[in-house]
C-alpha cells in the first residue's frame, strides 16, 4: 500500500482510453472511485464497452445551464464539452485531482487550483506505491508511447524511466 490513499479523482477520456489501449486500465484501481461526467463516459463507451468492469466509475449527469455559466465565468470556451464538464465536476464534488492527458486542460486545471495528472504520472504513482515492478512500469511507459494513441515525444518517456531508476537507486 502506498504512503497516501487517494480515494477519488475526476477523469476525462484521455487516460481511460490510453490506459485501456495498453491493457492497463486496472492501474486506475489506485484510486477508489473515478468520477466521470456522463458525456465523457458516453464517449469512452463507444470504443471501450467493458471499462467499468475493472474499476469503480461514478457516472455524473451534470446540469447543462450551470455548465454554460461555469464555462463563461472561467473562460473555457476553447475546451471540448467533456473537458469543461470534468473541470465543473471537480468543483462540484470538491475533488482536487483531474486525470487528463490534454495539455490545454492541464493549464486550465492549474489555474483553477486543480492538480492535473496524466497517464504517465499514473504509471509512476502505481509503481511508487509498489503495486507494480519497475520492469512493469517501464513496459507500460513504452506501450503508452508505442501502442496507445497518446501523443508523446519518445525522449520524454526515456527521461521518465531514467528518473525512476535514479529515484529508486536501481
Amino acid at each position: 500500500m502506498g504512503d497516501e490513499e487517494i480515494m477519488a479523482v475526476v477523469s476525462d477520456a484521455g487516460p481511460l482510453i490510453h490506459l485501456s489501449e495498453i491493457g492497463g486500465i486496472a492501474l486506475l484501481q489506485l484510486f477508489g472511485i473515478i468520477h466521470v461526467p456522463h458525456t465523457v463516459l458516453f464517449e469512452i463507451s463507444k470504443h471501450r464497452k467493458n471499462i467499468s468492469k475493472e474499476i469503480t466509475i461514478a457516472d455524473h449527469n451534470l446540469p447543462e445551464l450551470q455548465i454554460i455559466e461555469f464555462t463563461r465565468k472561467a473562460g473555457l470556451e476553447k475546451l471540448h464539452s467533456g473537458e469543461r464538464e470534468c473541470l465543473y465536476l471537480c468543483r462540484q464534488i470538491n475533488q482536487s485531482i483531474l486525470l487528463t492527458d490534454d495539455l490545454a486542460v492541464r493549464a486550465v486545471a492549474k489555474s483553477l487550483q486543480i492538480t492535473p495528472v496524466g497517464s504517465l504520472g499514473i504509471v509512476i504513482k502505481v509503481y511508487k506505491d509498489s503495486r507494480i515492478s519497475l520492469a512493469e512500469a517501464e513496459q507500460y511507459k513504452s506501450d503508452l508511447c508505442d501502442i496507445s494513441s497518446l501523443f508523446v515525444t519518445r525522449t520524454i518517456v526515456e527521461l521518465v524511466i531514467e528518473q525512476l531508476h535514479k529515484k529508486t537507486g536501481n
Binding site: 495539455l103 492541464r106 492535473p116 496524466g118 509512476i124 511508487k128 515525444t153 520524454i156 527521461l159
Partner: protein, 82 residues
Amino acid sequence: MENIMANLEALVRETHKSETEVMALALQTGIRQLMRELILGRYLRGEISRDEAMETVGIDWVELAEKQRDAIIEDLAWAMKK
C-alpha cells in the same frame, strides 16, 4: 504487417497514387518524423540549444515538447511525494 498492407492498399485507392509513390512518401514522412524525434530528444537532453532545435523542427514542435516535459515533471513530483 497485415494492418500496414491494408493501410497501404487504402492509401493507394484513396490518393490515386501508385504503390511505389505511396511507399516513397511513407519513407520520406517516416524519416522526417524520426529526425524530429532525434532533434527534440537532443534538445530535451540539453545537447543542443533551443534555437538549434527550432531551426530544424520549428517552434511548434519545440513548444509542444517543452509542454510535455513540464507536464511529466509535474506528474513525477506528484507521484513521488510522500
